[in-house]
Each structure stands twice: as C-alpha cells, then as structure tokens.
C-alpha cells in the first residue's frame, strides 16, 4: 500500500473577486522511501495541494480524499491531525527565517518540539537529541550552536536547522516546499546532499515541490507536472524527461536556457497562465498550446494512461510524429488569416 494516496483532490477558495479554483481533481501516490517531485510555475497549485493534505488551508472548500498510511486526512479532526502533522509528516518551506522564531535560541526551539510530542523525555536528553539532529544535517560544532539565535545562522544553515526540526520525530513523510529556492547553487547542493543522505538512512518518503527541473532530475523518482491547478502529466523521472507527452511539459523543457547555442531562440510558451477565477473552457493550457485543436476547447482532456505509470491530460495522439503533423496542419490553416 502506498504511504500517501491522494484521490481526486479539489481545493477552492472563495474570494471577493470570485472562487479561486486552486487545485482540481488531483490524484497521485507515493511509496515509502521514494521521492515525488511536484513541478509547476507560480500559481499552479503545487503548494496548495500539500498544505491541504496537512490541514493548513483553513476556509478552503475541499473535495476528495488523501490517505496517509491508512488514515484519511481530509476532514480529519484537528486532534488527529496534530498527531500526524509535524510528527509523522515533517515539513520544510522555502524561507527558513520565517519558519523559525527569531527571539528564541535554535536549541530551545528544537528541544521544545521534541518535548511537545514526548512529555516523558528529560530536558537534558531532548537537548542532546537536538544537538545530534543538528550534527546529522551537517552543522559544524552542533552542540555549541544550540545557544545561537536563527539570525546567527546563514541561509543554508537555517534551512538545515529546518530539516533537523522536520526530521526530529522520525517522520515517514517529509514535505519539502521549494526547500532550496532561496539558496545559492553551492548551498543548494549541500542541502540536497543532506536530504538524500537522510532519506537513505531513515527511509523517509519525500514530496518535493519545486519549479526547478534540475532539482527534480536529481532528486525525484516520480514527477507530477502541474498547470493551473491540474495535473498535466505524471510519470517516472526518466519518462518525464525523455518521453514526455504533454505539450506543457514540452514547453517547460524547451524554455530552459543553457542547452542551445548562445543566443539561439528559446521556444518560450507564448502568453501567460490563466486566472484561476476565470479558467478557460476545456484544457487549461489550450490558449497557450501550439497543438490545440477544436476538441481542446470543448472538452477538458481525459487523463490518458500510457505505458507504465505515465499519465497525460491531453487529447493529442501519443505518436510524436503524428502530433507534429497536427501542429503543422494547424499552422497552415492559420496562415491565410
């Protein structure tokens, strides 16, 4: 059985401007010890999804199911969520400074966390555990740094403190929401190395939310690509990178600089993402899609299942050559206009 199984999850928020449909019919599974990468641009709903699972989207209208190790998280009473969130599901976020209390020493914050969930443990042992955790994530002279405040740590070190806290209670699942986005590449490499080592050692499953395809290529086993609240494509890491099907996935890859000769034209995706209040009919990517045809306007695409785990929400034929023909025909039709 999968550790985490999300089925048809939809999340919407009522605002003054209308209903924001942040996530629509999202389904995925994650096994123990594996990493699922959720990729998407700003506003694609990738963070809302995991925040909903952990009960952090108050006031949202939520439909669907999210099973964590046999427990239904959606609609679970907060009494139940408290025994899971932070305990069996650890979380780290993009900005470690805003997740740490600025006025308390780091050691105190970790000890307090351990104590809150294990009242029997002595202060002294909890503190020793805190030092051990900081050592585990590669903070030099860990025992001495327990008495430092968050601002005395650098960005990369703060993110390590966050990882240490998230791992403090040996969670089964770690949700990492853009954990390295605010960090420089050499520091990012350090933090990713720490995450990989912890996963190997403790068998923690990771949901890794990121907009960086390089981080996904390095860390994920499976990948979910999101756009405007919908899963556009879902596949193993290699299938996503080498045998992608969805035009949005294709657009993401072709937008990446650094692969073509200097100043060669990048195949950017035209236009910008739709408003989540006024979604286009049919496929949400349709207004920007170079392959779109009549059917994409009329019906939202059903998820097509391809070999193995690969799913793609798109009406296009699987065959890439056939697809290219479709595009050329469409361009030819548009030409006279």
């Amino acid at each position: 059985m999968a550790l985490l199984e999300v089925k048809d999850l939809s999340v919407s928020f009522a605002t003054d401007d209308g209903v924001v449909r942040a996530v629509r019919e999202m389904s995925f599974e994650l096994d123990r010890g594996k990493t699922l990468g959720i990729v998407g641009e700003s506003g694609s709903g990738k963070s809302v999804c995991t925040q909903t699972i952990t009960g952090l989207t108050r006031g949202a209208e939520v439909h669907g199911e999210a099973w964590f190790d046999g427990i239904e998280l959606i609609g679970a009473p907060s009494r139940v969520l408290r025994t899971i969130r932070g305990v069996r599901i650890g979380m780290i976020f993009q900005d470690p400074l805003s997740s740490l209390h600025p006025a308390y020493k780091v050691g105190w914050q970790i000890t307090e966390l351990i104590h809150a969930h294990d009242t029997l443990i002595s202060r002294r042992r909890a503190r020793a555990r805190a030092a051990e955790l900081l050592g585990l994530v590669g903070i030099p002279r860990a025992a001495d740094r327990l008495d430092d405040y968050p601002h005395q740590f650098s960005g990369g070190m703060r993110q390590r403190v966050m990882i240490a806290m998230a791992m403090a209670l040996n969670p089964d699942l770690l949700i990492a929401d853009e954990p390295t986005t605010a960090l420089d590449v050499t520091v990012q490499a350090q933090v990713l190395t720490v995450m990989r080592r912890l996963q190997e050692e403790f068998g923690t499953a990771i949901v890794l939310i990121t907009h960086d395809l390089g981080v996904v290529a390095e860390m994920a086993d499976d990948v979910v690509v999101m756009y405007a609240g919908k899963i556009m494509e879902k596949a193993s890491r290699r299938d996503i990178f080498y045998r992608y099907h969805n035009p949005y996935t294709e657009g993401l890859f072709k937008s990446l600089p650094g692969q073509l000769p200097t100043r060669a034209r990048l195949q950017s995706i035209a236009g910008s993402p739709p408003s989540l209040i006024n979604l286009p009919t049919g496929c949400p990517f349709r207004p920007r899609c170079p392959y779109a045809f009549d059917r994409c306007v009329e019906d939202p695409p059903l998820v097509q299942v391809y070999s193995g785990l690969q799913h793609s929400a798109c009406w296009l034929p699987r065959d890439l050559q056939e697809r290219e023909r479709a595009r050329v025909t469409r361009l030819a039709e548009e030409e006279p206009a």
């Binding site: 990369g156 590449v185 060669a264 950017s268």
Partner: protein, 360 residues
C-alpha cells in the same frame, strides 16, 4: 549578434575598482569601526556589442560592481572608463549625458516601478528628464517602445499592478531602452520569473541587442541563463574576479576550483547527467566581506588549498597554456580532467567534509 573582435577598444573598462562600505559601530569621532569590502580590486573590460556575464553567489559583490560601473555608487578607489574616458570622478552634471548611454534593468519588477504611476508616464520619464519631445510626440515614442518590447500600447494608462511579472519586466526593459543607450546593465533581469516567462524575456533581450546594437553586462547567479546570453563570463567570489574567459571555455575548461565547484553544483535538467555527474559539495559558507580571508579568498573552502594560497593573493592572469582571453586568479589551477573531488586541502584551518560519515 555582433561578436566584437578582441582588438576593439573596450566600451567600458574597470581598473582596480574598489567599493568599501563603512559598517559596524561608530567611534566617538563618528567614524565607523569596520569596512565591508564589497568590491575589492576588480578590473575588467566590456567590448562594444558583446554580452559580458557576471556570475557569482549572494554577497559576492556583483550587483555592487554593476552600480559602481554605472556610477550609481561613487567608487572608493580605482577608475571606470567609458567610451575612452575616465568617468569615475565626474560630477552629477557631467554624468547626465552619459546616463543616456548606460541604463539598468533590475531584478524585481515589482520593487523598481512606482505603483502609483501609470506605466506610460514611467516609461516617458526618460524623455522628460532629457527634454526630448513633449506631449503627443512623447506619448507616441512611449507607445512605440511598448510595442517594441511586446506590451500592448493601449495599456499606456494602466498601473504596474495591472501587469503580470513578465510584463512588468518588459516595462523595465522599455524604460531602459527609451534613450537608445549603448549599454544596458542587466541585474538578475529574469531571476524572479517563471521559466516559460523567463524564456520570453530572454528572447526579447537577445532581439533588442541585435536590433539596437546593444552591449550588455548581464549579472546573474543562474549559470544556465548566463551561458545562454553571454559571449564572455567573469566569475566573482567575495569582491574579486576569480576567473574570466569566453563562455565556451568557462564551461569546458574551468581553471579555478571555485568556478568548477559552481558549475558542478548546478543540477542539470537531465536525469542521465544528474546520475553520473561529478559533485563537488563545497564546505561552509562564503566568509564575511568585512573580514575576508588572507591570500586567496577562496582558500577556506578550496579542496586544493596550499600554504601559498593563505600567504599570497593570486594575480588574475593566464595560467597553464591559456591564451590572453582566459584569466584565472589561482596558484594551483585545474588541469583538464583533474578530479577535484579527490583533492584535499593541505592547510590546517579547512574542514572540508562537514557531513559526518558515521551516523548514529
């Protein structure tokens, strides 16, 4: 795309530029006790029509250097030459005509636009300041510019908040382009944008360079972006340039261990190379520019550090069999194929492997 010959006189030249900021506490006499050496002896050249990429991590001084080169900051020591004359000591009035020639684009399209002003007037400011045209003529010029950078000219009267991030960056581009400058200093122009939008803006910048014969200094921490746009790259670390070379050479034969580490830290968007690539994980963080390490500033984190790296400052010069276009500030430069992960520093103070091997 004009790739300038090396013999062309440089459009912009920095000679031993220093920028120090006083920091720390004030003494009784009102003097600050410490000095932050943001830029500490940088020399470089930018040739007409080329793009020079300036790469480095947070706090390396790349943005400060850009502001020194455009004289947004007064420099502490050194000289900045533009179009063949030293502009580093010019006053406000003397600088004004030169400001038409050198413009800037900033990272944050939210923070660099006044939210209470309509975009038409924001872009038109440049014309107003330099007394170019008036009324209808000015408005016509602004609309042409908006069209040129891919904005709808009918949105002349909108406020910045009504535009998306990518469109706002286009406003920034239009504003920089208004006076037909020779050079644009682009400071992380696409870092805040999503990848699909980033590609649109990069394409626009490349098109404009070709059409208007622009020279770019492109500052970024993103190596794939810099690889895409630059003819030459200069790598900065803690206020100094550690290596500079044509783009191809930086990526194929990096000489400085820091350059190599920086390149190896960039995760490629490709599972095969991600699985097989060499990973050099640098220990620790960049030291403080208030109290930089002696000798080579990278020696505290460098796998190849030797005693001479602590004692002396390595000059920026061709190393091994490199030609004049490839300069490296390192006493122990990397040879092609050398395995940096196998190197261990031979000085006392460096602790390289800080993730403990043995785990409880």
């Amino acid at each position: 795309m004009t790739s300038a010959a090396a013999s062309d006189p440089p459009l912009l030249e920095a000679r031993e530029v220093h920028k120090h900021f006083p920091v720390g506490q004030r003494t009784l006499l009102g003097r600050y006790t410490e000095v932050l050496r943001a830029v500490d002896g940088v020399s470089l050249e930018v040739r007409p029509g080329e793009t020079l990429g300036l790469v480095g991590e947070t706090g390396c001084g790349k943005s400060t250097l850009a502001r020194c080169l455009t004289r947004l900051y007064d420099i502490t020591a050194g000289e900045v030459w533009f179009e063949g004359r030293d502009i580093s000591r010019l006053g406000r009035r003397e600088m004004r005509p030169l400001r038409r020639e050198m413009q800037m684009i900033f990272q944050d399209p939210y923070g660099s636009l006044n939210p209470r002003r309509r975009v038409g007037s924001v872009i038109g400011d440049a014309f107003a300041i330099h007394n170019i045209d008036d009324g209808e003529g000015r408005k016509r010029r602004v609309k042409e510019l908006m069209e040129r950078v891919g904005l709808n000219p009918e949105h002349y009267n909108r406020f910045p908040a009504e535009f998306s991030g990518g469109q706002r960056q286009r406003i920034g581009v239009a504003r920089a382009l208004a006076l037909r400058p020779r050079m644009i200093m682009c400071d992380e122009p696409v870092s805040a944008l999503d990848v699909s939008i980033q590609a649109q803006v990069l394409n626009l910048l490349v098109d404009l360079q070709r059409d208007f014969d622009l020279t770019y200094v492109f500052i970024t921490h993103d190596l794939s972006v810099v690889r895409h746009v630059s003819d030459r790259i200069a790598v900065m670390y803690l206020g100094k340039i550690v290596e500079t070379a044509p783009t191809q050479q930086i990526f194929s034969t990096p000489r400085h261990p820091y350059t190599r580490a920086l390149l190896s830290a960039l995760p490629p968007a490709d599972p095969d190379s991600a699985d097989s690539r060499e990973r050099i994980v640098l220990a620790g963080d960049m030291p403080s520019p208030v109290d930089p390490p002696s000798g080579c500033r990278f020696h505290t984190r460098c796998p190849k550090a030797r005693p001479d790296c602590v004692a002396d400052v390595p000059p920026l010069e061709p190393v091994l069999d490199d030609r004049l276009e490839h300069l490296t500030a390192c006493f122990h430069p990397l040879r092609p194929g050398e395995d940096l992960t196998a190197s261990r520093p031979q000085i006392e103070e460096t602790v390289l492997d800080e993730v403990p091997e043995e785990r409880p």
